[in-house]
Amino acid sequence: MSIFGIPIFPDQASTFAKDVDALYFFILAVCAFFALAVAVSVIYFGIRYHKTHDGEIGARIEGNLPLELLWSVIPTVIAMVMFGWGASVFYHLRRPPDEAMHIYAVGKQWMWKFQHLEGQREINELHIPAGRPIKITISSEDVLHSLYFPSFRTKMDAIPGRYTELWFEANTPGTYHIFCTEYCGTNHAGMIGSVIVLEPSQYQAWLQGGGLEGTLAQRGAKLFNDQACVTCHLDTGQGRGPSLKDIVGTTVALQDGSSVVVDEGYLRESILNSQAKIVKGFQPLMPTFQGLISEENLVALIEHVKSMSPKATTAAPAETSRTPSRGALQPTAPAGEKK
């Protein structure tokens, strides 16, 4: 929206945009009301009670308890409404639906790398279909970044060594900005790109066009061979390592007596730092791949492992708000320490 060619309001291109903007206008109205009330009364008093002669003093008024309570309680109530509304919008923003389409984003000084499960890889550009919830899992290769889609009204920090995620459902085809909003060094302002929202059919066409390397999972399968994972992880369960078939979503018993649910965070940790959690009944033989596998390849491998569990519908995300999946170094509190 713009006046005289000056943009004054951002595009609304996601389902959130309306929610967030409604909240915005509500708070704007409340605040404008209070700001105006203060301004008007102050100016009115300034004129009405202007000093008329030397030595004049104001009326002696000490205060008024009911009035004080009134204007402590009213703002409290209004503030609670703001909080409640804001919290519910936020809660929605933080809970991706299970059927969300999944994309990986990796921040790196100074570019955004996106990977689609179908295999397409993009830099500073992201093609997505309209009308489908999309979940982006974010990580960083160096310092903090923040993935921001102003037109979708959402953003999330990229934190090295950790997965974070955001989701949205774009509803208006078009091209919109992607910004990095966490200061990340010299070219922070250059870490921008565009998100291209396509009609689902166009998106399909776009997918056909790209993806020469096969899907993400296929790339992962290739890596699974190249990195010699297959030598230990046989589907039969006869290898030196456990079979990875159908493990996603299940609970694995560990050596130290505890157990763990297999989600992305756990897979990531198992690959980067296999020794962190040893599967019951196995030796800590698996090499640590920390530093040997790039974030992108890691993502592909994880996707491949996940594809070996076709029955696990929910891809059990490693969401920051649920598990401290710190990737490389899973905080390990032994059973005794856990509260």
Binding site: A87, S88, Y91, T320, S321, R322, T323, P324, G336, E337, K339
Partner: protein, 101 residues
């Protein structure tokens, strides 16, 4: 004018108690109490610290204002520790108030 003068015997008693408590700390550390080891160590340390503050540092004989100062310090330290831990300890906190769903 010169503030409270504590008897030497009090100081010696406090000193000996502190020594004994140090020994207890070390001893307790070698007994396997599971997660309670940490707890016991902290409780003893707090107790020792209180002895020092109360008697060696004469807090006992100071004005209410001084006592309040100490309490304030501890209170804000607790804010720092607990509210930060609210974040870390709730990373696995999924159940949400249902009115928000």
């Amino acid at each position: 004018m010169s503030g409270h003068v504590s008897p030497v015997s009090l100081y010696v008693t406090i000193f000996l108690s502190l020594m004994v408590l140090t020994a207890v700390t070390v001893f307790a550390a070698f007994v396997d109490l599971g997660p309670f080891n940490f707890f016991v160590a902290l409780v003893i340390a707090c107790f020792k610290a209180s002895l020092v503050i109360w008697f060696f540092m004469h807090l006992k004989y100071q004005s209410a204002l001084t006592k309040l100062t100490v309490a304030t310090g501890l209170f804000f330290l607790m804010i720092l520790l607990t509210l930060t831990m609210v974040d870390y300890s709730s990373k696995g906190f999924t159940p949400m108030p249902s009115i928000l769903q």
